[in-house]
Symmetry: C2
Subunit: 319 residues, 2 copies
């Protein structure tokens, strides 16, 4: 059986892998994110050494350009990360390795991994929200990865901000107190003076749960996911998820009357951590390579590809 290549490009490190999934990883390497040319060089060397691969999937930090028709397809666009704005990642790797490249956000790659092997198996409409230094989002609607005008930006939704309870103004340079501005790991650090791992004050996690629950209400009303997966470093705080579930239930107030939300303990199955943990992104990138490995099936849903009803497909990068 042939293998695929996967890269999760993060702001501090790139995770590279060759294989077919979490149980068939033939080679992996972690590369520190330095300059674009050095980092890409090391990734190329990894695949030259461990390949050949059928195709490479890249799940990238963003914002990114994933429009197939765009001359800057495969680029990281207006990131604030020094040296990385307007960097060609996808086209460069395709050229250097002469291999088909599928390019999406790190969150959509992780969502795809969870769909194939993890907490979102069998679902066609779900959200994956990652709460780390920043807040990102992805998932599927109707079996297709969420993209439209561009990739989702869950972190920049606006939510109620009670300034009496939380006078902190938010850290988003664009929006101030959008979700990321209020609830990201960096917002926690700047509001409370310490990183989340060092904080066990109840008030910290109650406030964090409040903001995340409001975000989940909005996802539930707009994308109507069958499940919501919450990943990222901040979400690892053990006290957080139970509080998010409780507040989400209170905020929905029984309005969305479906058994998946209203049956006893249903909420514990509705809001879940990623089953693949930190590996979701890089193994999801392998899956991204697989489902996008054959052109000309842009309309095929991931389920159709997985069911073998079509030979492969672009997982929606056609807008």
């Amino acid at each position: 059986m042939n293998a695929y290549g996967g890269i999760e490009t993060g702001g501090s490190k790139w995770e590279c892998a060759v294989g077919n999934g979490p149980d068939d990883l033939r080679a992996t390497e972690t590369i520190a994110t330095t300059t674009p040319s050095e980092t890409i060089e090391r990734a190329v060397a990894f695949f030259e050494r461990e390949g050949p691969v059928e195709a490479i999937g890249i799940g990238s930090f963003g914002p990114i350009d994933q429009k197939l028709a765009s001359p800057t397809w495969g680029h990281i666009t207006n990131t604030p990360k020094p040296g990385w704005a307007r960097t060609d990642v996808g086209q460069e790797i395709r050229r250097r390795l002469s291999v088909q490249v599928a390019f999406d956000t790190d969150v959509n790659a992780a969502a795809l991994g969870e769909h194939r092997w993890g907490a979102a198996q069998g679902l066609d409409t779900f959200c994956y929200i990652t709460v780390g230094t920043g807040i990102g989002g992805g998932g599927m609607a109707g079996g297709m990865l969420l993209h439209g005008l561009l990739h989702p930006e869950f972190g920049h939704m606006r939510i109620p901000h009670d300034r009496e309870r939380d006078p902190f103004g938010g850290i988003c340079p664009y929006h101030g107190d959008c979700l990321e501005g209020l609830a990201s790991g960096e917002a926690i650090r700047r509001r409370w003076g310490h990183a989340g791992q060092q904080l066990d004050d109840d008030a910290v996690w109650e406030l964090e749960a409040e903001y995340l629950a409001l975000a989940l209400v909005n996802l539930a009303c707009m994308v109507v996911p069958q499940r919501i997966v919450i990943g990222g470093g901040v979400a690892k705080q053990p006290a957080l998820l139970p509080q998010v579930r409780r507040r989400l239930t209170e905020l929905l107030a029984g309005y969305l009357r479906v058994p998946e939300l209203t049956e006893p303990d249903a909420i514990d199955r509705y809001v879940v951590p990623p089953r693949l943990g930190d590996q979701a992104g890089v193994v999801g990138a392998l899956e991204l390579a697989r489902v996008a490995g054959h052109a000309g099936h842009e309309r095929a849903s991931v389920d159709e590809i997985e069911a073998g009803r079509v030979p492969g497909g672009q997982t929606r990068a056609r807008s």
Copy 2:
């Protein structure tokens, strides 16, 4: 050429039609919404007189049950409208007329109409938000009508509510100051003491534009639509849409850096009224009948059906 049947079931009237679209309407009838049995009886009589039809599409006020596997598929569920909670509409009409019935929300039907003949032609990811007595939402992601766990409920998203600027507490019996609680026609009437048509105070429409723009920010960050169609009675106020566009641009603050949002006047093409006007729902119901007229193609996207690549398809009622 054969014809389809369409019904838009509203809280005050049902619009019924036989035909193939806005330019091929062979018969129409408006029926007052009285009791379920009387209203359904009159609709059945219309189709018996004007039919036969290939299939009937129903775009219904909600909440509704549209899960094909559910014993209460085709029912209106927990509506507050007296006499209509837990009413079987879809199954009853299927039985009475012995015809295939497709059942979705009024907003998804209108969205489908706009996709086929109106303001959303050629798009695969768009939102349709209707601002009337209540606020509803629908649209498509990846060529599939938006449904997951259930149909979307845009009206119940939470948005920032500045109580100094607007001390009104909101009217939603479930959530108080959710979007519908603050910005629906009924909220306007109760906040200001008059219906929107009678109000031309700038403060009314500035506040309304603020809330709708916040809602559109959230749609843009989550569903990432290629366009947003705003329908409904409140949205007919001429001053409103230009203000919504202006505030949306300000609130996004250039973060979503795509030409569809950032080019001069692009926002005028991004946020638009429905092109089919009040007819979108009933002609959309005809289209709903057509695309769902053949079983067994649940995964087919609407574009595939329109392009003739598959003979028809359930437009996603399979969750």
